[in-house]
Amino acid sequence: MNLPGKIKTAATHFHNEMYDGAGAPYFHYTAYADWLASRSSDFMQQKQKEADTLYARHGITFAVYGDEGGVERSIPFDIIPRIIPAAIWKKVSDGCCQRVRALNAFLKDIYHGQEIIKAGVVPKQQILGNKLFRREMQGINVPGDVYLHIAGIDIVMVGSETFYVLEDNLRTPSGVSYMLENRKMMMRLFPDLFATTPVAPIDHYADVLLDNLRAVAPPGIADPTVAVLTPGSYNSAYFEHAFLAQQMGVELVEGQDLFVTDNTVFMRTTHGPQRVDVIYRRIDDDYLDPLAFRPDSTLGVPGLFAAYRSGKVTLANAIGTGVADDKSTYTYVPEMIRFYLGEEPILQNVPTHQLGKADELEYVLAHLSELVVKEVQGSGGYGMLVGPAASKSDIKTYRARILENPANFIAQPTLALSTCPTFVQSGIVPRHVDLRPYVLSGKTVTLVPGALTRVALSEGSLVVNSSQGGGTKDTWVLEQ
């Protein structure tokens, strides 16, 4: 393929992860670049088609809310891998683990002694006034003091060694099934590449997850039973719920499959009731138990919270973790790392304006066309304003929304997100990417050497969320 010279670099100020300014591949991409140069465009086209067919046939799908035509769709998969050198990965990995350890300590603290408030590091109002702070959790001890069993940390690169944490996903982060399926797909499509490239394996993710979940079972249970709790087959991430249950070899349950007697949780099985000790739940706090939270929830299990409070069942993640991944709490994470761990943060935050503060609000309103504005409790890329890409009327509408409740928004500079070569109809072109590694806690705090790379498939777009037309790539962490 005619590559380096012909790569379109419309926006040269974006860091391209494969090619340097002169169009030569970076060292960690050289082997792949050579391989790619020896392949024809037809060959790549053929492989892309094969991948698309396989994904559709295997029903690896996600659902898009508010899109009636597309109840089930395959998530677009790009056949060009994103390669991360070992040294960079070490920093990402250490940084993510450090962050999760601090966030976990923060959750334990705010639901117990609240030392961080007493020390004046985080304002009281920031926590107690937060909708996602669960008063019900105060004073409850969770097994192993683990709150964040699974955390997804979104990272963006802006230079070859400069990256920022964009946000923390600490409730029910999704996407890990794509990380695993993308690898399987790449090994199927290009086995020869794996024979010559030292790509760190990630297949053991489900084993590590199961190990950790079993390690946080209520005390005294010799052989704990783990189950994955899903809202059901109409949920957008249902494929992933089923996938993880299958990979771990545990039951995939819905609320209706469980019931609580004497503060103990049971599954309804063909051989009578069977006790459940650890629930990896993919249902939001609000819907978990109609007796404790939203009474209109039909997805949850009546009495589950009482069982949880009495320590007879472990929920992963714990209830009430949302207060820590709120986008306004995010700004305090570097301080948390210093406060709880006495360490300097390995990974930097993106400079963030809190619109609840009058002077920052004034600045942001004056610079809306340059900034990205988000709701503090939003997720999935819904309801955000990307200033440089927005029309005048979009900005006007959004300004009115901000003014209704400024404290509900944060703003960040538009980052020059790095790009990665991506296979689209017109050929191989640079597209913006982000990175989501999954940190697992239980016995230890670890992550498998891999991550989900999301790619914004439309030219110039900075929004990588799958619900907003993003795709994914396999992420290769090199072992040396």
């Binding site: 029903g59 209706q256 309804r268 009731p273």
Partner: protein, 331 residues
């Protein structure tokens, strides 16, 4: 396994079998309607071949509510094939089965899901006019797809509890269907004694046999003219006929014995009773008892067994004391 999972698998296979049976019935009806047919006598309108699929499936009143007036073959076809509002249409059956499979992705094999998914997407691409241009081909296709799914299941699935619930669903639905076809056909076939031994009679009996893939077997076993008594024997008592009541009950009883393990459950006892009725039955006794009465008894038994299976395994209701015992044991 989870009761909900067992429920989904059981009804998945029942719905596929139901779609196949609908295709068989309609195929025979369609072929018979091509024959020069006698004018129906007054009071015998229900014996119109196009009414039979409705009578057998118990859908006659639903049909007439939707298509009032005179029975029309194209309306019956429309209603039984692609009508999404009729929960027993072939379309609805496959849709329900595929939805169940989708929510059971982790329990069935990838090949099974792919096969059923493909079945559903191809079925969805049909419309009534396309079927009209090849009615029998369409029915053949439905049958083949049902065979194929059973084959994929047989060839790929672990012989675990899930597999047993799938097989249980198939044979429960098949037993019910064979009994109903036989009962209704027997009624229509008998009214006019003058026809016995006539050409019409021959075609009707052979059509009945063909609808359950038993025509060649009949020839092979009896080497004789088709008589009601022998047809009844073949489809009720012979345990080498894959769609006979006896064969179905052999499978059902065996599966339930394994599923119930050592626990005493009503479903197992009831299945044993039905099984014994076929295993030790004699044709002569059945005829003396009255074929219609016998089949009615059997259909009622299958209905009761359906309820018991549901209570014991699929949608369990636990009495309070049972839960406490288990809770204490578990701790």
């Amino acid at each position: 396994m989870l009761s909900r999972a067992a429920n989904n698998l059981y009804w998945m296979s029942r719905h596929i079998e139901r779609a196949e049976n609908a295709a068989r019935m309609l195929d025979v009806t369609y072929r018979m309607s091509l024959l020069p047919y006698r004018v129906l006598e007054r009071g015998q309108e229900w014996a119109d071949p196009w009414a039979l699929p409705l009578v057998i499936t118990g859908l006659a009143s639903t049909y007439y509510a939707r298509y009032p007036g005179k029975l029309a073959s194209d309306n019956v076809m429309r209603f039984m094939l692609l009508d999404a509002t009729n929960p027993s249409s072939i379309y609805s059956c496959i849709q329900t089965a595929r939805d169940s499979a989708r929510s059971m992705r982790g329990t069935i094999t990838d090949e099974m899901y792919q096969d059923l998914n493909d079945f559903w997407f191809k079925l969805r691409s049909f419309d009534n006019s396309r079927i009209q241009s090849g009615v029998s081909e369409f029915f053949d296709w439905i049958k083949i797809r049902s065979h194929q799914f059973r084959g994929v299941t047989f060839g790929t699935m672990l012989r675990d509890e899930g597999y047993r619930f799938i097989r249980l669903g198939t044979f429960m639905e098949r037993a019910d269907n064979t009994a109903r076809i036989l009962d209704v056909k027997y009624h229509t076939l008998l009214p006019s004694v003058s026809d016995v031994g006539g050409a019409v009679d021959y075609y009707q009996w052979s059509a009945l046999l063909r609808s359950v893939s038993a025509f060649d077997a009949y020839r092979k076993i009896y080497r004789d003219a088709i008589t009601p008594m022998k047809v009844a024997e073949l489809l009720i008592l012979r345990d080498d006929m894959p769609r006979s009541l006896h064969t179905c009950m052999n499978e059902i009883y065996e599966i339930l014995r394994v599923l119930c393990d050592a626990s005493q459950r009503e479903a197992e006892r009831l299945a044993g009773e039905l099984h014994a009725m076929l295993h030790y039955g004699r044709t002569q006794q059945i005829i003396e008892f009255g074929l219609h009465e016998y089949l009615l008894e059997f259909i009622k038994g299958i209905g009761k067994l359906t309820d018991e299976i549901s209570k014991d395994f699929l949608v369990p209701v636990y009495p309070a004391h049972a839960i406490r015992t288990v809770a204490i044991n578990a701790e």
